[in-house]
Amino acid sequence: MARNSRAIPEINAGSMADIAFLLLIFFLVTTTMDVDSGINRKLPPWDPEQIQDPPPIKKKNIFTVLVNANDRLLVEDEYMDIKDLRAATVRFLDNNGDGSCQYCQGARNPESSDNPGKAIVSLVNDRGTSYKLYIAVQNELAAAYNELREREAQRKFGISYDNLSEDQQNEVQDMYPQKISEAEPVNLGG
């Protein structure tokens, strides 16, 4: 009887903050906030019987980018710095050699690509190329496409490409379809 009537002693909650702090610090330390991000690419399907005769493509519609084992770039048979690759790619894609592209603002050089739909970027790298430069090249090529798409998005819809609806994005993508072809690596030496 005496036990029941006795008041329950209050538990001291003063150290609760300390315990919570301890846990908090543990989670603070273990937390990794980095979200995974990177460059998305799609590989071509594996086909042991490679197509013997690929459909003929005019040489002027192919933008060749070679990267050798010394991490030097050869773009369209000329040495190039990685800084200039983006602008050169934009010039090639936007060239509009045959005049069929209404929205292009290129130089209409007959020696360069006919229209964005036909323009293909061909990337060849050596087995000794560093991954860092490879990503840099991939990034610059993607940036060139994004730059043109952004321009068209602004012109056509007046807003940034990222803010377009999916249909609108597809429409802009079709204006500058991303065609990056990667050859099997060769031994470019160097």
Binding site: F27, D36, N40, I82, N125, Y131, N139
Partner: protein, 158 residues
């Protein structure tokens, strides 16, 4: 006179710390929810290259990771200093990738299998030869969606 004395002698009143645990708990829950524990311990050096045109990887459950890089210092005596592939918690040979990816794909439910992405987390010093071999293996395994994992930053910094 006594009136004034009372005022000056009071000192600053103690701030109640009763709500401190609540605040701390709030922070605690935030970090508990956002925390992602590292599933694998890295056995290889992994400094990812910079890129600007990056996309976020969504649907973590559909992503399989392949780590590539030079083995860390303590593993060099066993495996050498050449860049190696790491799958889960172990070093692997390139020809094991195909089996690994297929096993991972089996674990995903059937409707979502085409959405499976392989994230290649390679060190920037790795040579393309190894990366190409990995890509060929992925093509053989018919896993065609890949993502080159990068950090955000300018590509020609140095």
């Amino acid at each position: 006179m006594s009136k004034f004395k009372k005022k000056t002698g009071g000192g600053t009143p103690a701030i109640s710390t009763a709500s401190l645990p609540d605040i701390v708990f709030m922070l605690l829950f935030f970090f508990m929810v956002t925390t992602v524990m590292r599933e694998v311990t890295l056995l290889v050096e992994n400094i990812k290259p910079n890129a600007t045109e990056i996309k976020k990887l969504e649907r973590k459950s559909l992503v399989t990771y392949i780590y590539v890089g030079k083995p860390k210092k303590q593993y060099i005596p066993q495996v050498g200093s050449e860049p190696r592939v790491q799958l889960n918690d172990a070093f692997a040979r390139v020809n094991e990738i195909q089996q690994y990816v297929i096993t991972e794909r089996e674990a995903i439910n059937e409707a979502e299998r085409p959405l499976m992405t392989v994230s290649i987390k390679a060190d920037e010093d790795v040579k393309m030869g190894l990366i190409t071999d990995i890509k060929q293996e992925l093509r053989k395994a018919n896993t065609l969606k890949i993502n080159y994992s990068t950090r955000k930053g300018e590509v020609y910094g140095d």
